[in-house]
């Protein structure tokens, strides 16, 4: 390869440019309603005064991200007006001229530069063993490839259309700063991230506890427990002021206008159902299936009288009641999530393992929110997969968990692209990514990372896909039970995700002998 010495990073632009070229080729592919959502937000922020942003409801896709994201869209809209002024008219619902599509797609590709920079910083912080000389087996190279060419990001951002690259870039940059010991910057970046998309509130406990324990308390007792006297007020106040000032900058104008309740109601709409139209592969998917199975069984065995026929997947966001098992309310899911993250967070309080322990806790919190959250989108699995990649290139066990989680999670994104023209792309890309992740991690850790059961499960994914796409349409049940394929995929994937979740949780609870570092 061209002049690749150990210190030359010339391969990095090659990787980054390559994936950017690929993204450009996807400009004209299918885009989902999220495209219209963002166009609508461009229009709202450009054409209306700030006081109307969170009151506007001409379109059903109201502004439901925090104010910083609205300001981000406002900035984009100034560039957008040079492409096509008509996209900025609020009444132009569903407007998608070629110039609009080009602008929106290019904006995602351009903001990905944040992600690329974050990946570079993560790669610089990765630890590696001495001895490996070959570039392709170096951990930072593999990490760069797994992150830059991540299948989930490509599919969700550049076909389905979202700005996850930009947001996850800020998240990864914050993580990288913590790994490098620059905690104030990391905290600042996370505060910004929270104000861009509030779903990251789920991982805020990890940040809070880590910074409190490892940054504000500067010294520990010899047995590892916290030395209360070493609380550094300066650091605490610095952290607090950073977070408060960022939030003030973001929410300030709306508090001044007395619109805070309205903004909050837009940000946290609990009217939607427990599950999305396509069930994210989490605990509630399994719960739903068990409930349905029990009700069918109960009817057959005449244990139950006629029950209301629960329609669980009809429409986009309908509510539904469970038949046999108790119904689940939003507060129940919140309690479940909080209970699930408690042990992980407590473990890094009692036994902090430095920045890497924090990263592990972050991934666990993200997975907990995915498993137990209310109205979870399957896209949220990316919040766990991407930070896990950093751990995967450093530890053998994490690599095994990553392979399970990433493959299952990526496959669960398949239903997002349901058009025939996208089928070859999504199949080819996932095969490429999965093959690469398996071979590169296997070479890095010199050995098999998964046991037979796990490999069988992953091969079963191929069987599920073939059955759902090829076999099932030929069967007569397709007309009467059309949702069975989605259900099958969701349930099968939730098994894999739950398994990875449990393994990851065990790894954080297990006491380690590694010396503590910050």
């Amino acid at each position: 390869m061209a002049a690749s010495t150990a210190d030359s990073w010339s391969w990095f632009p090659a990787l980054a440019l390559g994936v950017s070229f690929l993204k450009c080729l996807m400009i004209n592919s299918y885009h989902s309603t999220d495209f219209e959502v963002h166009r609508n937000w461009l229009a709202i922020t450009h054409s209306l005064p700030v006081s109307k942003w969170y009151h506007e409801s001409t379109s059903e896709w109201t502004l439901d991200y925090p104010p910083l994201f609205a300001w981000f869209e406002y900035g984009l809209s100034h560039v957008a007006q040079h492409f096509d002024k008509k996209m900025l008219v609020v009444q132009n619902l569903g407007y998608a001229s070629p110039a609009t599509v080009l602008f929106q797609r290019l904006s995602v590709i351009a903001t990905d530069v944040v992600f690329i920079y974050a990946v570079r910083e993560c790669c610089r912080s990765v630890r590696e063993e001495k001895g490996s000389k070959d570039l392709l087996v170096r951990p930072y190279f593999i990490l760069a490839a797994l992150l830059l060419w991540n299948y989930g990001l490509l599919i969700v951002d550049h076909i389905h259309f979202q700005y996850n690259g930009f947001l996850c870039g800020i998240l990864l940059l914050s993580v990288a700063r913590h790994l490098q010991g620059r905690h104030l910057e990391g905290a600042f970046l996370f505060a910004v991230l929270l104000n861009l998309k509030h779903i990251y509130l789920y991982i805020a406990p990890a940040y809070g506890i880590f910074l409190l324990r490892s940054y504000c308390f500067t010294k520990d007792n010899t047995d590892g427990s916290v030395r209360w006297s070493s609380l550094s007020l300066v650091r605490l106040i610095a952290l607090g002021s950073i977070v408060i000032s960022v939030c003030a900058l973001s929410f300030g104008p709306f508090i001044a206008m007395g619109q805070l309740p309205q903004v909050l109601s837009r940000l946290f709409p609990f009217k939607r159902g427990l599950c999305h139209a396509y069930w994210a592969p989490n605990i509630w998917a399994l719960y739903n299936v068990v409930d349905k199975a029990l009700s069918v069984l109960g009817l057959r065995l005449k244990l139950l009288a006629n029950l209301p026929k629960a329609s669980m997947t009809g429409g986009l966001v309908q509510e539904f009641q469970h038949s046999v098992l108790p119904s689940v309310s939003p507060s129940a899911t919140l309690i479940c999530t909080l209970v699930s993250i408690l042990p992980a967070v407590l473990s890094i309080w009692r036994c902090p393992r430095g920045a890497r322990g924090f990263l592990r806790c972050l991934v666990v919190c993200a997975l907990c929110s995915f498993m137990f959250g209310w109205h979870v989108h399957e896209k949220a699995i990316l919040m766990a997969i991407l930070p896990l990649s950093v751990l995967a290139v450093e530890s053998r066990e994490d690599a095994g968990i990553f392979l399970m989680l990433a493959t299952t999670g990526h496959y669960s994104l398949f239903p997002l692209l349901f058009t025939a023209t996208e089928m070859p792309t999504k199949v080819l890309l996932i095969l490429l990514f999965t093959l690469y992740s398996f071979t590169s991690l296997k070479k890095l850790f010199r050995g098999f990372l998964l046991n037979t059961l796990e490999v069988t499960y992953l091969l079963g994914l191929i069987a599920v896909e073939i059955i759902c796409e090829v076999v099932y349409p030929l069967l007569p049940w397709k007309q009467t039970l059309p949702f069975v394929t989605l259900l099958a995929k969701s349930v099968y994937c939730s098994l894999g995700v739950s398994y990875s979740f449990i393994r990851l949780y065990l790894s954080i609870l297990r006491p380690t002998d590694k010396p503590k570092e910050l």
């Binding site: 390869m1 390559g18 070229f21 400009i27 023209t421 070859p424 080819l428 890309l429």
Partner: protein, 476 residues
């Protein structure tokens, strides 16, 4: 990485291919090339040799299994649906994967030099060549089959399996008649090899074996048409329409560029044009062929393929811009040996087809694949590092001093191509010269082709008669 999603709809050649499936599936063989009530030759009549027809028949059978509406006689004309588009694209992809990609991989691993990593990089760069990707998947054609078969022919000859190589090449010619551009080097190489082995013994035997292979293959391909000499004549008439003029539309060859200064198309009669182009083509191809005849090695063979097909492209009759793919294939094979001139040529060849891409709405894929190709081939093959005089094989000649500034000139040329590309799509031409941009594109490309023709001829002919030259030590 040969998948491409979301290309805009293609008319023209797409409908032609679908129509051929319809014709070959529904009509008997002896009607395929004739103008009948069921087969209107003016509506995308078959004008490729029989192997294309058999391939269309195969695809037509598969199509009718999936959805008979696609190949219904008469009623399926102009048919377009997303499932059908997926099917057609799948046929191109399958042909690519079965025919072209294995040939490229085998070539890079068995017939090129360097470390394993260098070979993999070479495979990637060859497969990334934008011209073939855009024409096959965007404009819609099956060039990967004919080029793949020709490449199998080169592989056969390179590995010493002369009969298999000739068989593959004859199949290539029977798939698309433009492969005849490559026929002169194949002929001269094999003949030269026979001469070298002595015409009194093994050489003669080899000659007879090859001749028999060629004849038998031709017979087998044309079997259904050999029953009636009228059939053969009609097919030949469809394949070689000599009624048309010296060139059509804007193409980056001599006659079109000459036409800018002197209107030769109107000055000379059609017959004179025919003879003029014949003479010019043979003259241009002669030096390289004779050199190959006297020294039949693989290196000479590759260079002769380039020189001959490029000469044919520049001086032949009724050349279409897509024919630049024929010299492009052998130049791809030179990517490992002479990276800088090869990349330069391949980029110029893609650029020369820009007007075609614009007509198909393929500007974004063109821009992306060209940039990716230039970037990756320069990066992976260290093209700009191997541009010293010695490595450009010009050691023995000092009469081309300007080439010592090659990297700078390469960048300048690529920048000019990028600039012209953007102007073509962003600006409207002045009213008096509506064809300004296609003309600029073709003249610019023509100058590149002419210069590179001279260069490749010099490299081939000036090679000293000592034992086969070794590649300069590559630093890995």
């Amino acid at each position: 990485m040969l998948h491409r999603a979301g290309k805009p709809p293609m008319f023209g050649d797409y409908e032609a291919q679908r129509h051929w499936q319809e014709i070959t599936y529904n009509l008997p063989v002896h009607e395929w090339y004739f103008n009948t009530t069921d087969n209107n030759l003016n509506y995308w009549g078959l004008d490729y040799p029989p192997l294309t027809a058999y391939h269309s028949l195969l695809c037509g059978h598969v199509a009718s299994l999936i959805n008979p509406d696609w190949v219904e006689l008469h009623t399926s004309q102009g048919f377009e649906s997303s499932a059908h588009k997926l099917f057609m694209r799948a046929t191109v992809l399958i042909a690519d994967l079965l025919m072209y990609v294995p040939a490229v991989v085998l070539y890079c691993f068995y017939l090129s030099e360097g470390s394993n990593r260098k070979k993999v990089c070479l495979v990637l760069c060859i497969l990334l060549y934008p011209g073939l990707i855009l024409i096959d998947y965007g404009h819609f054609q099956y060039n990967s089959i004919s080029l793949g078969l020709a490449l199998w022919g080169v592989l056969g000859l390179g590995l010493g399996w002369d009969m298999l190589g000739s068989l593959a090449f004859v199949l290539a010619v029977n798939y698309k008649q433009m492969e005849l551009y490559h026929s002169l080097p194949f002929f001269c190489y094999l003949l030269g090899k026979c001469f070298k082995q002595g015409m009194a013994g093994r050489g003669l035997f080899l000659l007879v074996k090859i001749a028999v292979t060629v004849l038998v293959t031709f017979t087998l391909c044309w079997l259904p048409f050999l029953t009636d000499p009228g059939q053969v004549l009609q097919v030949l008439h469809r394949l070689f329409p000599v009624g048309r003029g010296l060139f059509e539309d804007k193409v980056a060859n001599t006659w079109c560029s000459l036409n800018v200064l002197i209107k030769i198309k109107t000055i000379l009669s059609t017959d004179t044009q025919l003879y003029l182009s014949l003479a010019a083509t043979l003259l241009a191809a002669l030096p390289s062929s004779i050199k190959l005849l006297t020294k039949p090695t693989l290196w000479q063979f590759k260079l002769a393929l380039v020189n001959s097909s490029l000469a044919f492209f520049l001086f032949s009759f009724q050349v279409h811009e897509k024919s630049i793919l024929l010299p492009a294939l052998p130049v791809c094979l030179l990517l490992g040996d002479l990276p800088l001139p090869a990349v330069w040529f391949l980029q110029a060849s893609t650029f020369s087809m820009l007007p075609l891409f614009l007509k198909d709405g393929l500007f974004v894929p063109y821009a992306v694949t060209s940039s990716a190709f230039v970037f990756y081939s320069v990066y992976l093959l260290s093209a700009l590092e191997h541009s010293s005089e010695e490595e450009l094989q010009l050691k023995s000649l000092s009469l081309l001093p300007f080439l010592s500034q090659s990297p700078g000139q390469f960048y300048l040329s690529v920048a000019a191509m990028a600039g012209l590309s953007f102007m073509s799509v962003a600006l409207a031409p002045p009213a008096r010269l509506p064809d300004l941009f296609p003309l600029l594109v073709s003249v610019f490309s023509f100058l590149h082709f002419l210069g590179l023709l001279l260069y490749f001829n010099v490299v081939q002919i000036a090679e000293p008669p000592s034992p086969r030259r070794k590649n300069p030590k590559k630093t890995e």
